[in-house]
Assembly symmetry: D2
Homo-oligomer: 474 residues x 4
């Protein structure tokens, strides 16, 4: 059986989190919340619930709707819960990496789940190991648990800000104890975290689309640097972390988040639509139709078409039944990987000059296959337009990016890339255009993957580790 996801040639969000406090069906609503966040991680998922006394955990490899059944959800009794969807890197250690983590320490039971990344975690891990710590995973999140366990603060709630005060990096984290749900977001606010209300219960999620599914109301974002503690006395907010310049991850708007979500207080769909419009201004094309690479390219393509006056056409059809693995025939099938997911509508493409809208080019191999497929379907010209700038640097804040050397834009000029992907023309949205489309000032945005300028220090080690890539310890 051929593992099929090697075909995936996208940057990937590493996870989504969901939490709820004060609802008799806490685990069940967490399950639905995770289901709505499934696009943020499809390889493992987990829920920890509290009945006020004891935390219970269920984690497994696979999709939320496959992993959880009545029996499993029934084991997760109680009125508060946190959950996590994850995309994991190395196969063999994966269940060990699945979150939420649940441990016991002097502060009692603690569960945690984390969207983000702590670039200095391996340094800290080595220091903790020297002090006698044992690690069950390779996760940076486990470092935080160790530091919490070592804190002499009076309680977990006091220990969390103490431990995270000086932690550099991206963290939108949820903690669950028998009696409280705690959410905290790093001072730069790299990754999103939204607060909502469902009747008397509080809900917290990476994206607001998780609220929509369960009829919860979006209240506001958890602010960068804010900690929110929810227990039977209600919700208490504080800002225990040092103030930093904000650094919202713009890639959330370009690709990761669902278009129906509000991220950093802004509609994702609106950002994408405007990216498409800007792209049409910056890189017009003498063409007949505008075609998105579905589904992430749709909003930008509509924007491009609207601005350019070219006709919007759904020229690539996505197969909705793609499973994780796929049995390939031994005989070669051209562009097999792409075809399993996408098929051209020949009637639309034949004889047409096509503007193809995608959100990014990572390695370039998939783009090349798509361009070929569109051309073989009869397009006379293929003009590729990308709704963000060339991706030249890895992310240290929670996005899975390949080594720098695998990023095609880190090695090639735009013209070389165009040649590689066999397009007739290629245009990337400018940094300014993208930021303007999203409505964010450069001051509050993290654009490191396009500029190589990181908002935090980056350890030499982090960079080196990145090169060694995904080393599996333990």
């Amino acid at each position: 059986m051929e593992e099929f996801h090697h075909e995936r040639d996208k940057l990937r969000e590493e996870c989504g989190v969901f939490g709820i406090y004060g609802h008799p069906e806490a685990a069940r609503l967490t399950y639905l919340g995770l289901y709505a966040l499934q696009h943020r991680g499809q390889e493992s998922c987990g829920i920890v619930a509290s009945d006020g006394v004891l935390l219970r955990s269920e984690r497994a490899m696979g999709l939320v709707s496959d992993v959880f059944d009545e029996e499993r959800l029934n084991r997760l009794s109680g009125a508060s819960a946190i959950g996590h969807v994850r995309y994991s890197t190395a196969g063999e250690v994966s269940i060990r990496e699945a979150q939420p983590f649940l441990v016991a320490c002097q502060h009692g039971q603690i569960a945690v789940c984390h969207n983000g990344n702590l670039p200095f975690a391996s340094e800290e891990r080595r220091a903790l190991e020297r002090e006698g710590a044992i690690f069950s995973s390779t996760s940076d999140t486990e470092v935080v648990l160790h530091k919490l366990a070592r804190s002499h603060a009076a309680s977990v709630i006091e220990a969390i800000p103490e431990v995270l005060r000086d932690t550099e990096g991206a963290f939108s984290m949820l903690f669950l104890t028998p009696a409280a749900l705690i959410a905290i977001r790093d001072p730069r606010g790299f990754r999103p975290l939204a607060l909502g209300r469902l009747g008397d219960a509080w809900v917290i999620a990476s994206e607001t689309c998780a609220f929509d599914l369960i009829d919860a109301q979006y209240v506001r974002d958890i602010e960068p640097g804010e900690m929110v503690v929810i227990n039977d006395h209600g919700l208490r907010s504080s800002h225990p972390l040092p103030h930093r310049q904000h650094a919202f991850c713009i890639f959330e708007h370009v690709y990761f988040a669902r278009p129906d979500s509000i991220i950093f207080g802004r509609s994702v769909n609106e950002s994408r639509h405007k990216m498409g419009k800007r792209l049409a201004i910056e890189h017009p094309a003498d063409a007949d139709i505008v075609v998105p690479v579905p589904d992430s390219g749709v909003a930008a393509a509509i924007g491009y078409a609207a601005q350019s006056g070219l006709a919007y056409r759904h020229g690539l059809v996505r197969n909705h039944y793609v499973g994780r693995t796929f049995i390939e025939p031994k005989q070669s099938i051209r562009s097999f990987g792409v075809r399993v997911k996408l098929n051209p509508v020949r009637d639309l493409l034949r004889g047409r000059r096509v503007v193809l809208i995608d959100d990014s080019i990572v390695r370039g191999t998939t783009s090349k296959k798509i361009v070929r497929m569109v051309r073989e379907a009869g397009a006379t010209e293929v003009h590729v337009r990308i709704s963000c700038p060339p991706t030249i640097g890895p992310c240290f804040y929670g996005v899975d990016t390949p080594n720098k050397s695998d990023l095609i834009a880190a090695r090639m000029s735009v013209e070389e890339i165009r040649d590689f992907i066999e397009a007739d023309s290629l245009g990337y949205l400018s940094l300014e255009g993208m930021l303007e489309a999203c409505g964010f000032s450069p001051d509050v945005a993290c654009v490191a993957c396009w500029t190589g300028r990181y908002p935090t220090r980056i350890t030499r080690e982090a960079e080196t580790m990145y090169e060694r890539e995904h080393e599996p310890v333990p």
Copy 2:
């Protein structure tokens, strides 16, 4: 666990077929072909392969990519195969109904799979039972097998046209014997059946999108009334069935088929695009944006927008991880069933007058939920446009339709339906408009579900049976 598909409020194709002859990886390519036809039936699937001596069968409930793994495909050795995807009605007897059927009789082993329906099958079944036949399923297809087995023709190949000569109804059928693949299509040609080439091998499929995935070339349609026999001596075509007026199922173009398929020699996408344009002419709307109910409404919505000059917007986002069952919370969630699949993009809908394009209204309950959801997302007006006429009659040719009494358009006027679904306005495409959009003359089209005029005799019993609906015997 709440079975989730009760929410499905669409007419449903009852199956898709695929066959291949003369390829060392016959079963594997059949698996891929079925995968591309998955939208035609998601509840069971099966493959029968021949190694020239023996037929072997694998059938199971579930999606193609879930059911088949290397081990199962490896058991299906040989250079020819047929496969089937199916949507089955009654739960408990389902695996018994899964095709292809494989039996042995005086003509040796025969496997069959069938897209279509034989309205007189239950009459014939009773006659056969009186003569001593035993039935393992409730399927009309099994009747054909019995008649084949009873034929004194010299071979299966001669028996097939003999048996089907007087069979009224819709049948795009594939037969497999140890030595031959036989395809036959009823003289009216209700359901599609396409012939293709993959190197030296012949392939046959319900839709051409199955050819695309495996790099096969579409050659032509199997014609209405045509029988094709493929064996080691090559392909031999004949027209053994009596000539009849053609009656192509227009609903294939409206909803069933994938837009990237060519059906009855015509691009489905083109038909839908033109339906949208005609709809804009017949039922214009004073509105701001055109929004499809994804995914089937997309092409028509683009056409509507193009014709009307209104902006096309992707205002409903489809969730791509929908499983078959879904655990619902006990607390009520408004429009839960719809929300698991669709979420509104509030930013797009808020304050807008929306034209909502869908392909059909069956019971009306889902349409009502969608209209409400769009309105709650902030739309000021919701104008529903349907890309075909009101559906007033059940289908007897292979489409799963509810009882006539459940078809909202059989009971209500357009205005009453509009009121029921709470839309501000409602417009259905006219019969003429639809046919023109598809490029078919009324003479060659089956439009019975919209007119109640059936191209074949319909037994009283068939109609009665329909009322009793899905009786499970045995």
Copy 3:
């Protein structure tokens, strides 16, 4: 993964049946009954239940306790049920062969399960095929269903004796219709069939151990040639089949049945104990201890020890966690197959002269491995004693036997066998001794596998078919 059952070197019962009428938990008690009969067939199992109107079926590959869960049993509603455990021969067609079979015909729905074998079934099958019958399995039982369906008798209950009147062979059969449970046993009574009572409900089973588990009382055997019809009017017995000389399968007492069952009105344990005693008289051994090959050899070994005065010792320990498949290392392990199931108690065997009691030698390969293993564990002499005569002929009445050429005793003398299995001495119980031990007169016993004299005609074809062995059609 190495399929492990190739190691199995025993004759095998081909199935066990269970039926119940008039109990609200019919399916659940059938499940328990089958569980107690699991030793009669471990490869597939199935239950059909009737709610008075409709028959419902659940069949699967695997053990009863693995296949059936609450959900599956709950689908089998109703107050009557029949069930079947089976050992199937060819892998790929197995689920198609799993019983009970459930079909519909002019007499309505009929389910059937069968313990036994009909040697003339393939002749009849060909005749039926010539008349137009289609077959879904290779089973002889399906022939009976076809004949029932063709009968013009007024009802199934009248059709059954009509059809079976001239059927040669072994059949302990249960039929279920929506309104009745029918049991019938062939006039020779090859295979057992017992009738019991559980409160107001009637139960029928291949062995009485199935009654014990559910607290039912053994009433009597269904007699050879007897048909019992149980419906809401009670139990009605008749003897519609022609009288024949009885031919009870003695191998049931030698090996198949559980020692705690009463078979043909006689305690199996008592028969085995007496076989052991007779064996000690016929083939005494100058030895130290008597050791059974567990578990089937235990009762005879105790009898041998009792008679001989030698010490009984449990010198081979059976592993209770044997699964169906077992992953073998690539390096060779001596006697791997036997060792996975049996391990010697060295302390007991070391330095001892051992009498090893087994119930039969089929191919001889396993016996050889056991003798070697015992010797390597330190036994100074190994004297093998078999509690029946040499097996020289295949069975045509429901026992899976290898081709005659694979039966070691059909090719070799006792001395040659002794040499082959490397025993110091070898003794088989005489036919007379065996019959006397069982308390059956030669007149009522089938001893064909030891004498080659079959109680019925055997078609040339049956014998030939046997040689071709297990041909998979369809």
Copy 4:
């Protein structure tokens, strides 16, 4: 679904361990070794293998033969491995408790598996928590890992004796690092641990029956207080732990170990046989037959019969297909739990005075059911004989015992127990008789469960914790 193991009324060994160093099929042989040790723990199992650089882990709930398949074993590459079978107490946290544990610390990756129990672990755990440790399980074994991780010894190999030097309790432990397999046994030697040879590879197992299956040779026991380090330089033995009086667990000989194993250098079968003989001397019975409760009572029953001159009979048949869960009918079935596993051979018991031999009585409820079942099967008298003294105290060294208050012998006199279980007479083997039968002097035996005199200090807490029983943290 009714969990069936509540019926289990036995003391339970908490685990078995297996290790191998220097064989290309290390994981596969570990799988076989664990399979042979399955009787020591049936609820979870796991293997960690080393390829010289990296340790990889596979753990799951269930039986060895169900959990491991080719795919899973193939992931465990390398020439050394350790494995564990376990019986876990609390359902919901079970996978978290499954061993081997695998962690990373300053000494690199370490895996551990443990047979035994450390009574002071929870004290130590609290101390470690105060120092900042986090715990992923409730296991005492995790405490050892923390102490190893905190050790400033130069390597794991030096850290192990340092950490365990002052650890009170029972531990037969295996550690695996990328480069070495380390075995260590507590100075009192509570639990067994045997060393063997397979070609050039070394193997270590809880019982020698694991060697038999893979053709390995038993070399000797790992001695109490001994540590063995095996790496590419060979095997190195040392005795780093303080000398203590030996305290071999006699219950291994009474019940836990397989009769074909050599435990503490002595054949288990021999011990049991002699227990039976002594029991016949100490508690003769005026009876007809001696019947074991299979399978653990078999050897003692044979001994009892041999000594007493009474006839040994296999009067209770064990069902070999018992699964973990069993669906019970709603109607009551007398002694259902016992019947699913055991059935009486009525023919043997009817009219007989029966001596029933069992290895222990824990709560007495199962014994009562068996006595009743034997009597209902027709026995005129039932004399129960137990092959060890009354069990009056819980075990703190690796055996799962109920609270003291649930041990029937802690609350009742022998006569009261006899009355409770409804036996005609009841006799327990004396302590002296048992020890003599096993060939151990009282000086080297742990008999605490029969005398209440523990070989080590027992913390007040340990005792209290025992009363609170199985509290699930975390």
